[in-house]
């Protein structure tokens, strides 16, 4: 009897989940493969896209990709295609040859989001960026020659010092992810050091000391920073983390330095606003606007509808997006009213009608330059 009851319960659950969707009306369907399925960023992008569904007559389905398992990512893309997707947006530059072969065989188009596709750009440009099934990608901030995040970190430190002349940051150490995963982070560090050298030469009385990069402790292997970091860098006032602060801040708390040491970091994680600016250690955070997903989305919708912009380049491109950079209480107050934290589509940079207006099939006057221009105006100062 127990087995029969368990059988009935499981079958009921499967069909309750499956059948309504299986017989739902057919729409244009876009699959979204994200880094993870939790966090404020995920909630925000889903809220933004959900709001677009009726206006674009488009349905979005989601899956989670692996950061380093190509076969799994290929299987996930196959699942999205099996689910009836006409276009797919992925956040990983992995197994692109085989994924694009799948797209070719299924007549599906592919776009990139939150990823600069640097490996494909350097090693497989013809296979990816000249592939007719690939529409292009928008990066997580800058890409290619458009990288200047190291300068942003420096500017934030200087702004902090100007706001806090009594307790300035004079001695910093840095952290980064490994170069094989994020090669540009080494460029950020070089940019930061370059600016510090210029600044110290011009302001010897306010010189900032930057500890040499220590490969043992300063490269974070996608795990929380080791507490030996503080032994390797005694006397520092702040940590400049070109990778997400979520790998650094918990170690600062457990080491008991979060009340005295400052943190300038990339990324934003749930609850960071409670310890930001005058409230805690975080003095700078950078996050990509979720609305940047309109770049691959619009290009996919154009392709699916068989149209193209009059000024569209022959090859697919990877584009930089502006970033939301917070380095003051005022910035954070603005950010707290953005879709990133409210998960309310009304707080987004773009309404559904504005997104529709960016497409070539709905607006004959729409241009590729116009779409790219939108990506330039998603900064903290552009928040409504």
């Amino acid at each position: 009897m127990k087995k029969i009851i368990s059988l009935i319960l499981v079958l009921a659950m499967v069909f309750a989940v499956a059948v309504p969707s299986a017989f739902a009306a057919r729409h244009t369907k876009i699959g979204i493969g994200l880094y993870s399925d939790s966090g404020a960023g995920n909630d925000a992008v889903k809220a933004f896209l959900k709001n677009l569904e009726p206006t674009l007559d488009c349905e979005f389905v989601y899956t989670v990709l692996s950061t380093n398992d190509e076969a799994l990512n290929l299987t996930k893309v196959q699942e999205l295609i099996a689910a009836g997707c006409d276009g797919i947006i992925i956040t990983m530059d992995s197994s692109m040859d085989s994924i694009l072969a799948e797209c070719r065989d299924a007549g599906v188009y592919l776009g990139g989001y939150l990823c600069d596709f640097d490996s494909s750009f350097r090693n497989n440009y013809d296979g990816v960026f000249k592939n007719e099934n690939f529409v292009g990608a928008v990066a997580d901030g800058g890409c290619g020659d458009d990288i200047k995040r190291g300068y942003d970190f420096f500017d934030s430190v200087i702004e902090y010092n100007e706001r806090n002349p009594e307790t300035p940051v004079r001695h910093v150490a840095m952290t980064a992810f490994p170069a094989f995963a994020f090669p540009y982070q080494q460029s950020f560090i070089a940019q930061f050091n370059e600016k510090v050298e210029e600044y110290n030469a011009a302001n010897p009385d306010k010189a900032i000391e930057v500890d040499p990069f220590n490969d043992d402790t300063d490269i974070l292997m996608f795990r929380a920073m080791d507490s030996t970091y503080f032994n390797k860098h005694p006397g520092i006032d702040a940590i400049v983390s070109v990778c997400s602060g979520s790998f650094v801040y918990p170690t600062m708390v457990s080491a008991g330095v979060s009340n005295t040491m400052k943190l300038f970091a990339a990324g934003y994680n749930d609850g960071d606003n409670a310890v930001f600016g005058s409230k805690g250690a975080y003095q700078m955070e950078i996050i990509s606007p979720v609305e940047a997903i309109v770049y691959p989305l619009v290009l996919l919708l154009n392709k699916i509808n068989g149209v193209a912009f009059p000024d569209q380049p022959a090859d697919a491109e990877r584009k930089s997006s502006s970033v939301l950079l917070m380095n003051s209480d005022e910035d954070m107050a603005k950010f707290e009213k953005s879709i990133y934290l409210t998960a309310n589509a009304a707080d987004a940079f773009l309404s559904a009608e504005e997104v529709l207006n960016l497409t070539a099939y709905a607006n004959p006057n729409a241009t590729y330059a116009g779409l790219c221009d939108v990506l330039e105006h998603m900064t903290i100062d552009d928040l409504k």
Partner: protein, 336 residues
Amino acid sequence: MAENVKTAAGKTDERVSFAGFIKNHIFDLTAYAGLAVMVILFLIFNSGPRFMYNLSSVIQAAAVYSILALGAVFIYSMGFMDVSLGQQVGVYVILMILIGNAIGGVLGIVVGFIAVLALALLCGAINGAVSIFLGLPSIVTSLFLMFFFTGAQYLMMEATGENTIRLAQTIRPADRNTYSLMLVIIIAVLAIIGGYVFNYTKLGKYTRAIGANKTTAQQSGISLVKWQVFGYMALGFCIAVGSFVMLTRTGTAGKGTGTGYAMDIMICLILGGMPLKGGMKSKISSALVGAFTYTLLSNVLTTMGVPLNWINFVKACIFLLIVLLTCRKSKGILPR
């Protein structure tokens, strides 16, 4: 085995015989019924224009599972398991890419595969022999290999300076249907060879005997070291071939390649009706039935419209259900 029972009137009661047959073959019948249900649902929910695409996707996804599971049958039939399987796959795919790119051409691929095959057979021999010589449970030696290969995979990828490495040449047929046919042929050939070896040679008979009762097998003159080593080498051979098939599928590898395969193969075998304690009821067919059931399950749930993030949850429920249905004793949980 089903037995006929004579009634008071001296006539054979066929109903008792049928019930006995069902009882004795509950694992096989449940496994085949599960596969049949999946095939029917696949046909129902894939009647659209992407039928052939989805069919070939299933074949592609099932190919690696099938090949690895065919090898795993030899060690599961002894009541052992190997948790290093996934990490071995990861390292072997990376090695084949590195060697293939260094030498170039078809020769590079052939040399890469031979090197990986030799390494896989060696690791199989080590895995089987060390556990006997040191008196360790086989899972302990496979744990050692798992950590070894995890470290090796990480170091090799770090040395490349890339998150993903890619085979410079294409080894997969451009036509999707040709590729699927190629995979079907590989699976069929390995299944025929595996079936013959498992059912008609000493290797299959002795590994099952070891799984049924190790002491009895030893007292019957079966060399535990020899046949355990050969069993693990059979798995090693299949890991090498499975790694090659995976390489044909993606053409790339990274730090996470192969992750989770050890558990996936265990699930495939259980879905295919394999008794986890091994023994004489072990069947080579469990590998194919389980691999295709497992793969079809994902595809069917997807095409039925189950939200993609719910699929693992639903699969877990179905897996639990199968375990409950195939549970032999009221006290037992897993098939044994």
